[in-house]
Symmetry: C2
Subunit: 210 residues, 2 copies
């Protein structure tokens, strides 16, 4: 489980080659993402995130004001990453719209499988924990959902125009529903450690559009 990088890191101001890019910061974000999608925010200690990449505590508080600020950056980071993913998949005009959605879902299933279904969705994880999270996270998370919804809505509109889904589909509403249910499926896949919930939901949703 442990990555255990006991390498002594260089102290002092680093050589100025990398333009505004910090390797250490990137490592912290990656490490944080891994742990948070598995265990959630509250259950995760900074120490664990640091240990994984062999970074001392001082560095963490150099790059982030505190744990909350770190969490907030994780959300932004995840959102951006996911947005690009959606643009490449749902927005890929060289494929039929509905097929793009199917591919996206299969891709996500494969992704979860690669981590033995131990890692979920950051947005879902934090959403569930809202009661223990800083209030500022709420808006951020809601906005992320809205972004995803817009991407899917556009895709569904294309499917409708192509006559692949029922002409009276409310694409906005369908897109909203999709993400709601999808999060449920991710949660359950994580609980059961199988792709079953995701696969079922994928088929179900596609079918509901026709």
């Amino acid at each position: 489980m442990r990555s255990a990088t006991p390498l002594k890191r260089r102290r002092g101001r680093p050589p100025k080659d990398q333009a505004g890019f910090s390797q250490t910061k990137a490592e912290l974000i990656r490490s944080g993402m891994e742990v948070l999608t598995e265990k959630g925010y509250s259950a995760t200690g900074i120490d664990e995130i640091l240990r994984r990449v062999g970074v001392p505590k001082g560095s963490f508080y150099h790059y982030f004001k505190n744990k909350d600020a770190f969490g907030s950056e994780l959300i932004s980071n995840y959102a951006k990453f996911f947005e690009h993913k959606l643009d490449r998949s749902l927005g890929n005009r060289s494929l039929p719209a509905l097929q793009r959605l199917s591919l996206f879902m299969q891709d996500a299933i494969d992704g979860m499988a690669r981590h033995q279904f131990k890692r979920g969705c950051l947005v879902g994880n934090l959403g569930q924990e809202m009661g223990a999270l800083p209030e500022s996270f709420r808006r951020q998370l809601i906005e992320v959902f809205e972004t995803w919804q817009q991407r899917l809505e556009a895709c569904l509109e294309e499917a409708k125009a192509a006559g692949d889904i029922s002409a009276d589909t409310d694409c906005k509403q369908s897109a909203y529903l999709f993400w709601t249910g999808w999060e449920g499926a991710v949660l359950r896949a994580k609980l059961e450690r199988t792709p079953n919930a995701l696969q079922s939901y994928a088929d179900f949703f596609i079918n509901s559009l026709k």
Copy 2:
């Protein structure tokens, strides 16, 4: 927020009127349920649960071996509570099967509204946290889902027999899907603090059966 019950509790062995029933233990479970459905397991400390009901630590560890045992009892308790609820709603033969499901959902929505959508579902909450929870919780949670699924499956079979839903519906599969998506909707309702996700999902699911 605080209930602040600074009442000095009776010390010593209690009068033997109540047959095997402990008021204090019940209070701890209720208190724990409230906090855990809001903040989750990891984010909640024993002290907070105790403070709410004015019970000292000694009592907690008198009734429960440790936090994990407490959590496990919470799950059992929640499962039993919910099972009865489902029996009364989904199993109420004096109503059309589909209508029972609608009523159950509306009831749940009202319930969440009463707590300003701050409390979610214990099973969903813990499921999401699995990465940080004792492995024994997993089986327990999966089994709870299965129980719920069976209740709904039976209800759907009745609806099918009555001709209210498509004759080729796979009731078991539909029931599985329902709970998967429902948890997603609960999560989102909690995030957005509105009944919107639940309402949408309710309509969507009922519609998908026809």
